[in-house]
Amino acid sequence: MSAETINTEKVKAAIEAAVRGCRVEILPNGSPSGQHSLILDNEHAVEAALFLRDNPELRLDYCSDVAGVDWLDKEVTEKVKVWKLVDGAEKEVEETRKSVTPGYLEAVYHLFSMEKKHGPVVLRLRTQDRGEGARVPSLTPVWRSAEFQEREAFDLYGIVFEGHPDLRRILMWDELKDHPMRKDYVAPPDEDEPAGAVAQEGGR
């Protein structure tokens, strides 16, 4: 039903052929929409984006949507069977092992082509972690439409877009320290109106 969809494999091959050293990974999508995405490595992201925009066959001249996504640290517990010495005899024992995959933030770009009328191609840029290393290169120099949306992702998720011409908070106030769209954000208690107290006072 959508416009001409693009083969993700082909785009991947094209990027890898054009941008030397660029690592591209395909992230399959399990939903019926079938919009698979490409994970770019941060060093070559701008170069790859320029290629996607200017390549005469792809001409992805229109970056529609930039979304931040927060992936928390994942704790995986698995049960492993191990041979162990128990009471002098070797036995098979079940043991639980915990491993933590570190969380990261992600900027998701949806690209379309106004000239060729096809799309979407979904690009993903990932940060190293959710703290100091929450940095990805900005694609605003490639597509101006990312300007406000990257500022929004910076504001609400705390992703720092390196190379953005004017990276400031856009929706929240400048003094705010936190990033409210993160999954571990806890809203501060409402200072002006402690719901219970005022309601009791006001209830006649």
Binding site: A3, S31, S33, P120, S145, E147, F148, L156, M172, M181
Partner: protein, 382 residues
């Protein structure tokens, strides 16, 4: 010469000028359609710099939606672009249907087209009214526009129970099946609409004051429009043929005969005329849809109202809302709540180019240019 002075000379050609005046235009300026502020730097009357500031109406709509079920987000989408709740509903329903693979029955598709095009009519007609109000034509055009808009809102009230916060669409169809009387009434309204459009055009099109205030003002070049992701009537006024109804043919738009009006100059007058012409095309679509609407269920019988749990995955669905491309990006992780719920707000992204359109023009032109962008702060701030 300092950098600022050089810039002034570049923009105005005036070598003698010097001082810049910083003005905060808004958030309570009557022309800003709500609470919207522009930090403007002026040299005399000329705009040297313009930075939009918003967020006054921010309520973190996306977070609210991520904390509720898929169904619970539907009434909140009404409040995004509160002039066009029907198209907001459709964009969200479309995205969820893509995400979960839900089919929509034929009749519901027709009903969706009908209400969406009615929404387009009432949005464009009131936008033109507001634009004239911003220009100083106080009252008359806006009142005429609102008179017609009210008739459409009455139809919405009969159908969904509310004039503006319709909350009408559901995943897999629409909430209420329109009665034959309702369809007849809609047909009568659509039949009368071209006469009103003629009248409205007669009122304004050749008006010399309107022409001198809008022609050549707020010009948006084609390349910049594409690069800055401008969509909707604003993009088409700059001469780019990109209408998602044609490109994606979502719903059943490929069954209707209609044309996409294109502008040539990309100025405010073109944006005004594009909306006028688009209304005429909408009337054509409505006539066809109301004639061809089949009998049948308005809701997929397999679709359940509660407890939707899409498989893990993601989907981006978009429609041509009256303001531009309205998209919803959803990520599911298999739970009843969306893991990520993102709105692509057309009015916010169309504001990216506001500065480019206003530089070197006078303050009065900011008002007109902003009016022609067609922003709704409920959607810009979310």
């Amino acid at each position: 010469m300092s950098a600022v002075e050089e810039r002034i000379v570049e923009l105005t050609g005036d070598v003698d000028s010097g001082q810049l005046l910083e003005v905060s235009m808004g958030p309570h300026h009557p022309s800003t359609h709500g609470v919207f502020r522009m930090n403007v730097e002026l040299e005399g009357e000329r705009v040297m710099k313009l930075k939009p500031v918003f967020g006054y109406l921010h309520r973190n709509h996306e977070k609210i939606a991520e904390n509720g079920s898929y169904l619970a987000a539907m009434p909140f989408t009404d409040r995004l672009d509160y002039m066009c709740s029907m198209t907001n509903n459709w964009a969200y329903a479309l995205s969820v249907e893509k995400l979960a693979g839900i089919a929509v029955p034929e009749r519901a598709e027709y009903v969706r087209v009908i209400v969406a095009e009615l929404t387009r009519l009432q949005n464009h007609v009131s936008l033109i009214g507001f634009l004239m109000q911003d220009m100083g034509a106080s009252g008359t055009p806006l009142m005429y526009a609102f008179r017609e808009r009210e008739k459409i809102l009455d139809l919405f009230e009969q159908l969904s129970g509310t004039r503006m916060m319709c909350n009408y669409m559901r995943f897999g169809g629409v909430r209420v099946d329109p009665t034959p009387e309702w369809l007849a009434e809609a047909e009568a309204l659509v039949g009368r609409f071209p006469a009103f459009l003629d009248e409205f055009e007669q009122l304004l099109r050749e008006n010399e004051i309107l022409m001198s205030r809008t022609q050549g003002v707020g010009v948006l070049p084609r390349e910049l429009a594409v690069n800055a992701g401008v969509t909707g009537p604003m993009l088409r006024a700059s001469g780019v043929n990109y209408d998602i109804r044609k490109v994606d043919a979502y719903g059943i738009y490929d069954r209707f005969q209609f044309r996409v009006p294109l502008g040539e100059h990309g100025d405010v007058y073109d944006r005004y005329m594009i909306r006028m012409l688009e209304m005429r095309e909408s009337v054509k679509i409505l006539e066809q849809a109301l004639r061809e609407i089949p009998e049948g269920p308005a809701m997929d019988p397999k679709a359940r109202l509660r407890g939707l749990r899409p498989k893990a995955g993601e989907a981006y669905g978009r429609i041509e809302s009256p303001k531009g491309e309205l998209g919803f990006f959803l990520i599911s992780n298999g739970t009843p709540e969306p893991y990520r719920y993102r709105v692509r707000p057309p009015s916010m992204i169309n504001l990216t180019v506001l500065e480019d359109m206003c530089l070197g023009r006078s303050v009065a032109d900011i008002v007109v240019t902003l009016g022609s962008v067609d922003i709704i702060l409920g959607e810009v701030d979310r």
